[in-house]
């Protein structure tokens, strides 16, 4: 039996490894997606002052530090039982929307885009942002960089830093914005909205107008039937900053809707010995292994999943594109992995429009941006929608606000099972009779990159070197033996 290893999986944030096992005919016997590293945040956050969590946990991920920073800050509100002033909430969401803009641009143009723009089988030296710039022209390249950078400017204006903001405090934010800054943000927002529209048209031209790509998107090899998870507002519209977590089943019917504080009743995490990353699943459905369907607790929490659980978008252009997507692909929910890219652009549009709305809110320059906590800190949960899925921070502290326990359900981790399944499917779909070319392997990675997995995030815990542990399962996945060396 021959093993093919793609290592590292490039163009994702963090580290990943895919091992595909072929049978004697050279067809896929099995494929494993492994996360080879972890870091131990949940443990080493213990003993730290809880107010430092936004600063520390944002280092889980430098790609989406804002997600961790804001989730953590919201958890602090809960830990200290304090309600931020309205302006503070708006500033947080403003920062957060800018972050979504920057992040989705980064992903589409730098991480995943090249696959489409250059074509999946293009030589590797061209399958990158520089290749994209080469093909679309320098001004597009500059525009990409500008709009990404402008969004980061907004983050810096509110959060202090372009990467790893430092503004999060229980009961608000440490810094407000001036009227000048607001006007600057507004003009940035206007331009971001335009750029989002441009990106939609680009996607239209390059992808939707291209038969191969459309078939690729609708290709069974790139579809996994699972539950979907995402956060919605009280109109069941997609919301990134706040709301209830909603879960729909593979048919799209509501399965659960709960507030973040109740997450423990709905989410469990499964451990496999061959990867450092846990597999979250729906507690009430249960873990049935890396399979999809109604019976398996596996779920997706991706842009596509968010659109699947929602009943629309809260801003006009995004809403229009939302409808167009479901009409074009003909059904809801959509499980086709590659449609995630489209969903991401719908979100990019929403994020930029939301950014504009908030920048036009006169109250956002209100200097009252902090409520000083008065209650004794104890325990709290904070959640947001990170670009890569629902992100939950949960802290327990002593009366002095020193962290005693931390649990994190990190965005990408939600999709760990779904990703593994997608990869296996993709591998089965594109690897035939031992025909394993570079392009084909990239196509496997495409399935993977569709999730824009962020393993910097996912790998927030470190395992120890333990005695060898071999599990032998029956066909029914019942544990027959569990042999361990002492």
């Amino acid at each position: 039996m021959k093993a093919v290893t793609i290592y590292p999986i490039t163009r994702l944030e963090g580290h990943g490894k895919i091992s595909i096992f072929l049978n004697d005919e050279g067809n896929v016997e099995n494929a494993y997606f492994q996360v080879p590293e972890l870091r131990g945040f949940e443990k080493f956050c213990e003993g730290r002052p809880v107010e430092e969590m936004p600063d520390i946990t944002s280092r889980i991920c430098g790609v989406c530090p804002e997600a961790h920073h804001i989730a953590s800050t919201k958890a602090l509100d809960a830990v200290f039982h304090v309600e931020p002033p309205p302006a503070a909430k708006k500033l947080r969401e403003l920062l957060y929307s800018a972050f979504f803009v920057a992040d989705h641009i980064t992903h589409f143009y730098i991480l995943a885009g090249p696959d489409f723009v250059m074509g999946p089988t293009a030589p590797k030296a061209e399958r990158n942002i520089l290749g994209v710039i080469g093909k679309l022209g320098l001004e597009v390249g500059n525009s990409v960089i500008k709009h990404r950078s402008d969004a980061l400017d907004v983050i810096a204006m509110v959060g202090g830093k372009r990467i790893h903001p430092s503004c999060g405090v229980p009961g608000g934010v440490s810094k407000g914005i001036t009227e000048d800054e607001r006007t600057r943000i507004q003009s940035i927002a206007e331009s971001e909205v335009e750029f989002a529209k441009y990106t939609l048209s680009l996607f239209d031209d390059i992808v939707l107008k291209n038969k191969d790509y459309v078939s690729l998107i609708t290709n069974e090899a790139y579809a996994t039937q699972t539950y979907c998870m995402g956060t919605v507002d009280d109109q069941n519209h997609v919301n990134f900053y706040d709301g209830k977590i909603r879960v729909v089943n593979p048919e799209g019917e509501e399965f659960a809707k709960f507030s973040p504080a109740e997450y423990e009743q709905h989410i469990s995490e499964h451990v496999e010995p061959w990867t450092y990353l846990k597999f979250p699943y729906l507690k009430k459905v249960g873990w049935k292994g890396l399979v999809g369907g109604m019976e398996s607790g596996v779920y997706k929490a991706t842009p596509l999943a968010r659109l699947n659980v929602a009943e629309g978008m809260a801003t006009p252009t995004a809403q229009a594109e939302y409808k167009r997507m479901y009409e074009t692909l003909g059904h809801k929910p959509i499980h086709s992995t590659l449609a995630t890219h489209w969903a991401r652009l719908v979100e990019l549009t929403y994020a930029s429009e939301r950014l504009l709305q908030l920048s036009q809110d006169s109250d956002i320059t209100n200097p009252n941006i902090r409520t000083i906590p008065t209650k004794t800190p104890d325990e709290g949960v904070g959640a947001v929608e990170a670009p890569r899925g629902t992100l939950i921070h949960h802290y327990k502290t002593d009366a002095n606000g020193i962290v005693k326990g931390v649990n994190l359900i990190v965005a990408t981790t939600n999709n760990h099972a779904a990703i593994s399944m997608s990869i296996k499917q993709a591998a089965e779909g594109v690897i035939r009779n031992g025909n394993v070319s570079d392009g084909i392997l990239n196509m496997v990675e495409m399935a993977f990159r569709a999730y824009d997995p962020c393993y910097a995030c996912a790998t927030h815990t470190l395992p120890g070197q333990m005695p060898l542990d071999i599990k032998i399962y029956s066909k029914q996945r019942a544990l027959l033996y569990n042999i361990r060396t002492p």
Binding site: I6, Y7, T10, R11, L12, E13, G14, H15, F21, E37, R39, G40, K43, F44, E51, E52, D55, I56, S58, R59, G62, V63, P65, F80, T106, K124, R127, L130, I145, K146, R148, S149, G160, K161, H164, S166, V169, S174, E264, I267, S268, V271, P273, W274, P280, K283, W287, N400, G401, I402, G405, N407, A456, L462, P463, G464, Q465, M466, I470, K471
Partner: protein, 318 residues
Amino acid sequence: MTKPKIAFNWASSCGGCEIAIFELGAKIIDLANKVDIVFWPAVMDYKYSDLEAMPEKGIDVSFFNGAIQNSENEHLAQLLRAKSKLLVAFGSCAYLGGIPSLANTSNRDQIFANSYIETSTTENPEKIFPQIKVQKDEGELTIPEFYNTVKTLDQVVDVDYYVPGCPPVGEQVSKVISQFVGGELPPIGAVLGASEKSLCHECKRVRTDKKITKIVRSYQTIPDHQKCLLEQGIICMGPATRGGCGSICLDANMPCRGCYGPLPKAIDQGAKMLSALSSIFDADSEEDIQRLADSVPDPLGTFYRFGLAHSLLRRTKQ
């Protein structure tokens, strides 16, 4: 003349340093014209096999971010060291251990138990833990070995230059890159892209009298934007930390956490800050001094937030 070959790699860190490269903004495009980027997993399709195929010292400069936390990190460090003329520890994790090295306050078994058993949502009745080698019917699956102690890059290989910051700020990144692309380089071992003076030198806040009458935690007060935070009782690592970032956290009215690392002559960043802070305690009696010392919430985690692996003691006793 051939373009210089440059590599970027990412070990145990958050990836913020990779994103910091994008902070070059439009410059990244001229950079692409000036140099050959021969390895950059986060952005370009190259595999370790490509790297292994390169000749010794075939790369002119490698920018390595992230701490050394597992066997893969170390393997890559050695590989890049061998393939590179110059190796740069890029960012606080590679240089100082960074926040990942707070893991040195714990140890592998504790982290392991916490992650795979104790955490509230974990369902693991059979106490399965990830294994370096797992035999599946189809074949053997391997993952790197996790280290008990996080190390800085220069604790596993020779490092030529250091660039501090979590992450290094944009202006500094482009300054550093241009130093390597046809610029002037200081002697080996130098810290690039940072000031030789402490953050206080660039901090715009007003300093009057250094006295700590009470330790104030950041959530307990809305600090005066104009006055030195330390003088308001808020622990700010600025005095013991290299400048160069532009004191951006202070501009956001938050204290410095020390990500730019120790000053050139400092023996140990944490010990220096501990000494400075306690020396200005406004207390003379045994009791008052004890009271103030006890009111510092987390000395180790505060003074070594970004530099535990790089510190004199490196980790806690196990």
